[in-house]
Symmetry: C2
Subunit: 443 residues, 2 copies
């Protein structure tokens, strides 16, 4: 264990060292409809222009490629990759109660480690450099994300089901987790993840709220995912979910809310007035039939920042943000009978530029001074030809496989679609998933 | 021109010869939840079993791969790849009248040739071996598809806008096209494609109907794509579109109908009673906001065969049938508020097994005696791990990039994701698309 720790800190130190030393020069790449060079030093974009001549440790030829910001996946449960395809085509409650929760109860820290590694691998291979995670066994996720090199807001999932002892345990856990974050890279931000108003007591939500304010932590929670959540809230609290959270002072600009499929005008006003962000998860909401009327235009007009997420792969099945963009846009257009909404540019922004507002990381744009989180997209594939409109092709035609190279925090995590350790991760994650199911069957 | 013809027939002869001589043995591949060998001779599947020892010209190692039928794309306009990303986020009529139709008016036979080549390349790279095409400049499409090696039902698009001369021209064109089909491979089937009831006169529809019966040709047309099409039909004919077509004896089991978003109970009964097939095009219907209530369950219960299509890339943006499956299923679930419909297996069947009913080609299944139209899917990628349920992973997680190898008509069209001529096609199609736009601007 001690040896593990020493090796791990040595690894961290080497990573930190590398991140300051490494420089990358990307030559002649399509960026903002021009052919430009991008010079990266340490973890940020130092210079963008024509004919940059700075010496660099690594030179990348940008021919037939475009540079775009790494995507932000606004909401996922990374380790649920282990449950991909385990249960589909079911109604929400039997799906949760008969399939997902029993399996989750068998997950160990080691399982979550491999599930998160698989998720990170999938995100790297589909051009996502930043994600908002919410899951159990925090130390395992932390280790996996640290090793994989991605940027993340890592929320510690929280449930107490109105049981005071569970609430107390969570509070102690948070203190421990905060300590565990010390010494970790700046790529990973700790946050709190009270699951939802129907799984977390009012007392614990208030504690999370106070603790996050005292410690400057972000919060993410699920809100108004289904109509029955709204109905139950009205029955229990006499208030809709957003009104209830607002009444206990929970809604602030540090809070992002996943789903928000069933919002009233009053709900939208509360989210806007308090500066909350909203994450739309089209694959999950569609597959579980939670609802298709995500109020994109009303939220946008009210000034609520909108991001896109994949949700966990147990419901959305993959972590490909390109697919999530297309689903968000197409589902929005048809649900509201208006092909002009969720246009290509605003859809792309909800998967890239929104990153800074949602996470505080200075990323989501390719600009001097921003963090070097960049995807290089292969333009020489059928789905990107012709290239009349790069953003249209990315949103409506491409999938994550068009990403050839991913740079996160100034480091090359994938080049020519090759990721270190890929075979090992696939092998171990697959084995782990089957082991979890075996344990459940034996129990 | 004569030289061209000689070269072309020499090419055809060589292809025909090859197709009879070539044999392929796929060893140890995942098929129907077993590890099996598949032996292909000429253009069909000769043997499936364990430890097949037949000598073969080509042996493929199936390790970490699964064999699935090549997909059938039930409805597309292949050459519209040239318009990918040219106009998005618009209402249907201004999109057609201001953007698509003016550009189409500038297309030459050479343009359609390169557009169709690009479409075929994209289909090969995403595991589609058979498609129903409907477009102008038939000889160009024929040449392109013949060269690319795909299987197709090639319908000759037909419009007359109630102008007798246009109708007469079309009839003459059909005679010529029938002659052009002589000497072409059995992979390509000629069919008729009256565009829609609002662009083709009753007289011409009747002629198409008679001609197809006399010559044993299939027909594909657009039906009930938008509510306004239905409203206009009622206004013009006093009948809904399906009732109108039924009243003139048009609906038979040789007829497949694209879209069918706006169907009444009576419409469904007419399609079922006459044995028509229906092709659902979720990307296009969603993006153009044509409607999301495709009546999957009602059509299925009535016994109407259902297929999935991508429509042209001007509206659907890509030709990836894996994506089309996910869109069909997810949109269906959420639109009807039922996560159990369009389950993974029935969605997969609507993209594979349906092929035989829709086209008459003995394909869509991997069985002895069936045509050798087979995709080999790479299981060693994040989106296919874990592999609890192959069909779920294919429908809900994968995209067309999981296809590693495509065999059509017993020939290898792609191996390890490499397709012959790929660079040339991408270069020429891209150049062609820009040339068309230039011509439009000059006009």
């Amino acid at each position: 264990m001690l040896l593990n720790r020493i090796v791990f800190f040595a690894y961290l130190a080497s990573q930190t060292l590398l991140s300051f030393e490494m420089s990358i020069l990307i030559k002649n790449i399509l960026l903002d409809q021009q052919i430009l060079d991008i010079y990266i030093e340490g973890n940020s974009i130092k210079k963008i222009g024509k004919n940059i001549t700075n010496a660099a440790d690594k030179i990348i030829d940008g021919k037939n490629k475009a540079a775009i910001p790494g995507m932000v996946n606004g909401h996922t449960h990374a380790a649920m990759t282990l449950m991909r395809g385990y249960a589909d085509d079911m109604h929400l409650m039997p799906w949760l109660e008969q399939k997902i929760w029993p399996l989750e109860s068998k997950l160990t820290e080691e399982d979550v480690y491999w599930g998160t590694k698989l998720a990170c691998l999938e995100m790297i291979k589909t051009g996502t450099s930043l994600f908002f995670d919410m899951y159990h066994h925090f130390p395992a996720s932390l280790k996996a994300i640290e090793e994989m090199g991605l940027r993340a807001v890592l929320t510690s999932a929280c449930f107490d089901f109105d049981q005071p002892q569970m609430a107390e345990d969570y509070k102690q856990t948070v203190i421990k987790q905060m300590k565990l974050m010390q010494g970790h890279s700046n790529r990973i931000q700790y946050a709190l993840g009270p699951h939802a108003i129907y799984t977390v007591s009012t007392d614990l939500i208030k504690w999370v709220n106070d603790f996050s304010k005292d410690n400057g932590l972000r919060i993410q929670t699920h809100l108004s995912e289904t109509q029955s959540e709204v109905d139950n809230s009205i029955q229990k609290y006499g208030k809709r979910p957003a009104e209830y959270l607002d009444s206990i002072g929970f809604l602030t600009s540090n809070v992002s809310l996943a789903h928000c499929i069933h919002l009233s005008d009053d709900d939208i006003k509360r989210l806007a007035d308090n500066g909350c962000q909203v994450i739309h998860n089209p694959a999950s909401n569609m597959k579980l039939a939670s609802g298709n009327k995500f109020r994109f235009s009303d939220l946008k007009n009210a000034g609520v920042p909108i991001c896109i997420g994949t949700d966990g792969t147990a419901s959305g099945n993959n972590l490909d943000m390109f697919e999530a963009m297309k689903l968000a846009s197409l589902n929005g257009k048809v649900a509201w009978e208006d092909p002009t909404i969720w246009n290509a540019n605003e859809t792309f922004e909800a998967a890239t530029e929104i990153a800074e507002t949602l996470t505080g990381f200075k990323t989501g744009k390719i600009k001097e001074g921003y963090l070097a989180d960049i995807s290089l997209v292969n333009l020489n594939v059928p789905e990107m030809v012709p290239n009349f409109n790069l953003i249209s092709n990315l949103v409506y035609s491409a999938n994550g496989n068009v990403v050839d190279t991913l740079i996160c925090d100034g480091k090359l995590l994938m080049e020519n679609r090759k990721v270190e350790e890929e075979e090992t991760i696939l092998f171990n994650a697959n084995k782990t998933a089957y082991n979890v199911v075996s344990r459940l069957k034996e129990a």
